[in-house]
């Protein structure tokens, strides 16, 4: 059977038919120049389709996807909140969408004013002294942050620092970002309440420590109650504290990371500030730093280069931080995502931002309260914007994966599973603030029903999903055969 799989939707290449095209261009209005014969390409094996073929193909594909617009997406650590439609419109305003990144600054004052204001707003929201909007995603912001920490130590002639402390509940990107620059990763355990273990932290701190990468609230969804002490211990040995801003949604208007000793942090505009996840990107990962690190930010930053005078607006332009780590990407960051996040912050204002955090936390605690009789939750505490439950039951072979797949039959996207690594069979649930009580209840009801099914009819879970268009995947076959491309048929005329 697997040798001849049934094709649900043909690929673009299989749909191709020689001679079709989806778009034509005007004939040249200039004389033809001579083409350099030796340099020309002989064949271009791209598919040929009409516009309607392309539109229907992608429409069919779109229907195979679960999405936030389609339903509840409680994917822990990913903040799959509703993406307001107005943001899509503002990002596409011709004055933003059709501006070249290398235009003279006099012709892009609108973009620069928006970026400058965005820097100011993010500073105010986070309590940091300076912001770079350049990093393209959260992991990219982390890489930037690690480089800044290292540059700071080196600028002080402190070259012995080679260790990065990372709590055991950290995102996988934290150690990977440190590893990219050859830093040695030292894991710090959590204590019984899910906080960083202070005595373990103390003994790990010495003059070889670059810093600590702290996610707070952590990936258990718990706020580290000793955050100020954690920062103090790290600072005492000369280290810096990196804040992973992935979970900032829980802190908007609740706490400014810069106020409690965090030295550097990345934002995920695609989580906290509602820019759409796009099926895996683009994200946007600005980095904020305390005053002593401002000189190391990636270049360039947006600044006022000529003050406002005589009723004229100021002139915005670019400046280079004095000891910059350099550029981390071409041009100025994901400007289109900045427009979306800017629109979102402008519409929320200070009170609206605080409500985001309050309701995100309310919703998470509500689901937790509704399911905790049926699912073990490792730490008995009020959680923040997400919580982690164990997806296993005594005397049952049902696993977190089965529960996740069964949730699809109830028309829900599963939570994050098997993360964080410190919880057995982890199910990490993050509802966000944009769900109503009905969908939270329906999700809790589904989890409770599944806990019942696990006892009465575990096969239902092992074989799930059964009501979706596709069933479980043969992941081994994918990795073993490694078919990564489709091609035009052998006898196709390649133009």
């Amino acid at each position: 059977m697997t040798d001849n799989p049934r094709i649900v939707e043909k690929t673009l290449f299989e749909l191709s038919s020689p001679g079709r095209t989806g778009v034509t261009f005007p004939a040249a209005d200039v004389p033809a120049a001579k083409l350099p014969k030796d340099l020309l390409r002989r064949e271009l094996p791209l598919p040929e389709l009409a516009e309607v073929d392309v539109v229907r193909h992608y429409m069919r594909l779109s229907k195979f996807n679960y999405s936030v617009d389609g339903g509840f997406y409680p994917l822990g650590s990913c903040t799959m909140k509703y993406n307001p439609k107005i943001n899509e419109d503002t990002a596409r305003l011709p004055g933003f969408a059709f501006v070249h990144p290398l235009q003279p600054v006099e012709t892009v004052q609108g973009s620069l004013a928006l970026m400058y204001t965005m820097q100011e707003w993010l500073k105010e929201i986070s309590g940091f002294a300076a912001i770079s909007l350049q990093p393209a995603a959260g992991a990219h912001g982390e890489l930037t942050g690690v480089l800044i920490m290292r540059a700071y130590h080196r600028s002080r002639g402190d070259t012995k620092r080679v260790k990065m402390l990372i709590p055991d509940s950290a995102h996988g990107t934290n150690p990977a970002s440190s590893g990219m620059f050859g830093l040695e990763v030292v894991q710090v355990p959590s204590d019984a309440r899910g906080n960083v273990d202070l005595s373990a932290l103390r003994s790990a701190c010495d003059e070889t420590v670059v810093g600590l990468m702290l996610t707070n609230p952590n990936t258990l969804g718990l706020f580290d109650e000793h955050v100020e002490q954690v920062a103090e211990i790290v600072h005492k040995c000369g280290g810096l504290v990196y804040g992973d801003g992935a979970n900032l949604n829980a802190l908007l208007g609740i706490l400014r990371p810069g106020d409690v000793g965090i030295d550097v942090m990345h934002f995920n505009l695609h989580k906290t500030f509602s820019t759409p996840h796009g099926g895996g990107g683009p994200g946007s990962g600005p980095v904020g730093v305390a005053a002593h690190l401002a000189d190391f930010l990636p270049a360039p930053l947006v600044a006022i280069v000529e003050k406002a005078k005589d009723g004229e607006p100021p002139l915005y332009g670019f400046v280079e931080p004095r000891q910059t780590i350099g550029r981390v990407k071409a041009f100025h960051g994901h400007f289109g995502m900045l427009v979306r996040a800017f629109t979102y912050i402008a519409m929320h204002g200070p009170d609206g931002l605080r409500q985001i955090a309050e309701y995100a936390v309310l919703n998470a605690n509500y689901i937790k309260a509704r399911i905790q009789k049926a699912y073990r939750i490792p730490h008995e505490r009020i959680c923040m914007h997400e919580f982690v439950a164990e997806g296993r039951f005594d005397g049952s072979d049902v696993r977190a994966l089965d529960i996740s797949k069964r949730l699809m039959d109830y028309d829900f996207h599963p939570p994050t599973n098997y993360f964080p690594l410190i919880v057995h069979e982890a199910l990490m649930v993050e509802p966000t603030e944009t769900e109503n009580k009905d969908s939270l209840d329906a999700f809790a009801d589904a989890l409770l029903a599944i806990a019942q099914e696990a006892r009465t009819n575990p096969e239902l879970l092992h074989n799930a999903p059964s009501r979706t268009l596709f069933g479980r995947m043969d992941e081994v076959k994918a990795a073993r055969e490694l078919v990564l491309c489709c091609w035009l048929p052998e006898d196709y005329e390649k133009g």
């Binding site: 697997t2 673009l12 290449f13 989806g22 778009v23 034509t24 261009f25 004389p31 350099p36 390409r41 791209l46 598919p47 594909l61 617009d69 997406y73 011709p94 070249h100 990144p101 003279p104 012709t107 892009v108 004013a113 982390e142 890489l143 150690p175 990977a176 970002s177 590893g179 620059f181 109650e225 955050v227 706490l255 796009g278 099926g279 895996g280 990107g281 683009p282 350099g326 990407k329 071409a330 041009f331 519409m347 204002g349 200070p350 309701y359 509500y366 309260a369 009020i382 699809m408 994050t416 109503n436 999903p465 596709f470 069933g471 479980r472 995947m473 043969d474 992941e475 994918a478 035009l488």
Partner: protein
């Protein structure tokens, strides 16, 4: 305005279920001294007000579809984007989904990425492509990482041509700080006149990677086959940073023997958007797949015997390998990759070749007309695609300011990056530029040189 769909009565019922009295009670673990800071931000706007404020801000820009005629390129290009591209991108099923961790309910995204990988492989002439990187610059940096990892750090030299985009080289410098990589060739004062053979001398047995751009920053198209052979003779890998539109016309990097092909995918249906989000594509040969960073989609079957797609070889990635991962990347440019795939499928081989030829002919017409002007001339004699360096009779900034008064966005000032190219501008011409616009550019410059 918030997007919170919970009524006060529902909120109170939920608080009761939780067993707390108020929303504030949920935040007891946050240090009291710093709890609930007063944020100094402007008061909330309604959607109507926000729409108008953002429009007002956008009016502060001059754009290339409005008041400006653009001849600016240097890594970002003004191409026509067929209407269907954005209509499809605006499907909520695509743009409001996340990374396809749950393949049973993500086949739309997965098949779309699989097809994207196939299109990029076909376009570059390589065996496979990953699901994409942030942009062209970071894709080059990831190629450097990959080559360094391929030789397990035993080869420390990376040769990067001075004619690779200055911002790409800057990103490589940032990414490689403290890694022990020795960058050679990254010299703004290098000889820019001579062809690829000038790099041969920099290759040695310690070289992990050679990076060249195709067409190069100045738009020049060289056959790199001989240089690639020389690099391979030293055991080094070769990465070509390419313009994807040019590949419709010119020899594919695969045909020339490249090991890694990266590039900026923005020309493939992605708006200029003041620099991003764009698309870094990354293709390589099969033998290097395990060292390649980034997401990868592979074909498989589901439990019902249907052809399906999954993220595969995830063991290479950060969430499994943690500090031993080659890269920390955990997303791709999903929606941008989708845009480029839709663009390529609409244009197909005929449409893309037509765009490339239009660019070529129009750029050559512009170059010919401009070089006739007194004081102006083409800097280089090598064949070029849709960009060329023009030497000017005075400072580029002054010439551009004059052009701007006539609604023309002039070329990139090469003197910023190359001291020897003071008073040289890099002009780009695409299918969007009409003959009338090119003639207008020539006329304005002609008038200026008579003044």
């Amino acid at each position: 305005m918030t997007y919170i769909p919970i009524s006060p009565a529902e909120r109170d019922a939920m608080l009761e279920t939780i067993g707390v009295k108020s929303l504030e009670d949920l935040f007891q673990s946050v240090p009291a001294k710093h709890r609930f800071p007063k944020l100094d931000l402007p008061p909330a706007l309604t959607e109507m007000e926000a729409a108008s404020e953002l429009q007002e801000l956008s009016f502060g820009n001059e754009d290339v579809r409005g008041s400006l005629v653009s001849f600016l390129g240097a890594g970002a290009y003004n191409h026509y984007i067929p209407a269907a591209v954005d209509h499809l991108l605006r499907r909520g099923e695509f743009y409001t989904a996340y990374t396809p961790y749950q393949p049973e309910v993500s086949q739309g995204t997965l098949q779309a990425i699989f097809e994207y990988q196939s299109l990029i492989a076909a376009l570059t002439g390589m065996e496979l492509s990953n699901a994409s990187h942030y942009d062209g610059a970071t894709a080059v940096a990831e190629a450097v990482n990959m080559a360094y990892a391929q030789f397990r750090g035993k080869r420390s030299r990376v040769v990067i041509a001075p004619t690779v985009h200055p911002q790409y080289r800057a990103v490589v410098r940032t990414y490689t700080q403290g890694m022990g990589v020795e960058l050679a060739g990254d010299d703004a004062n290098a000889d820019l006149e001579s062809g690829p053979e000038s790099l041969e001398g920099l290759l040695d047995a310690n070289t992990a990677l050679l990076v060249v751009q195709y067409p190069d920053l100045f738009g020049r198209v060289y056959d790199y086959s001989a240089l690639i052979e020389k690099a391979h003779a030293q055991g080094a890998l070769v990465c070509l940073a390419v313009n994807p539109t040019a590949l419709a016309l010119f020899k594919s990097p695969g045909e020339m023997g490249a090991d890694i092909v990266v590039g900026e995918g923005q020309p493939l249906g992605i708006p200029l958007s003041y620099g991003g989000p764009y698309l870094g594509f990354f293709a390589t040969r099969r033998q290097y797949v395990h060292k390649m960073a980034g997401r990868l989609v592979g074909e498989t079957v589901d439990s019902r015997g249907q052809r399906a797609y999954v993220l595969t070889l995830t063991a290479r990635e950060q969430h499994i390998k943690r500090e031993r991962a080659t890269s920390n990347i955990c997303t791709n440019q999903g929606l941008m990759a989708l845009a480029s795939a839709i663009y390529l499928s609409l244009l197909g081989q005929t449409g893309l070749r037509q765009v490339a030829e239009l660019c070529y002919h129009k750029a050559h017409y512009a170059a010919e007309q401009l070089s006739k002007l007194p004081g102006y001339g083409l800097c280089f004699s090598a064949p070029f695609f849709h960009e060329f360096a023009l030497c000017c009779p005075g400072p580029v900034a002054e010439i551009n300011a004059h052009l701007l008064e006539h609604g023309i966005l002039g070329g990139y000032d090469l003197g910023q990056d190359y001291p020897a190219l003071k008073d040289h501008m890099l002009l780009a011409v695409t299918e969007m530029n009409t003959k009338d616009e090119i003639d207008a550019l020539v006329d304005v410059l002609a008038e200026a040189s008579h003044d």
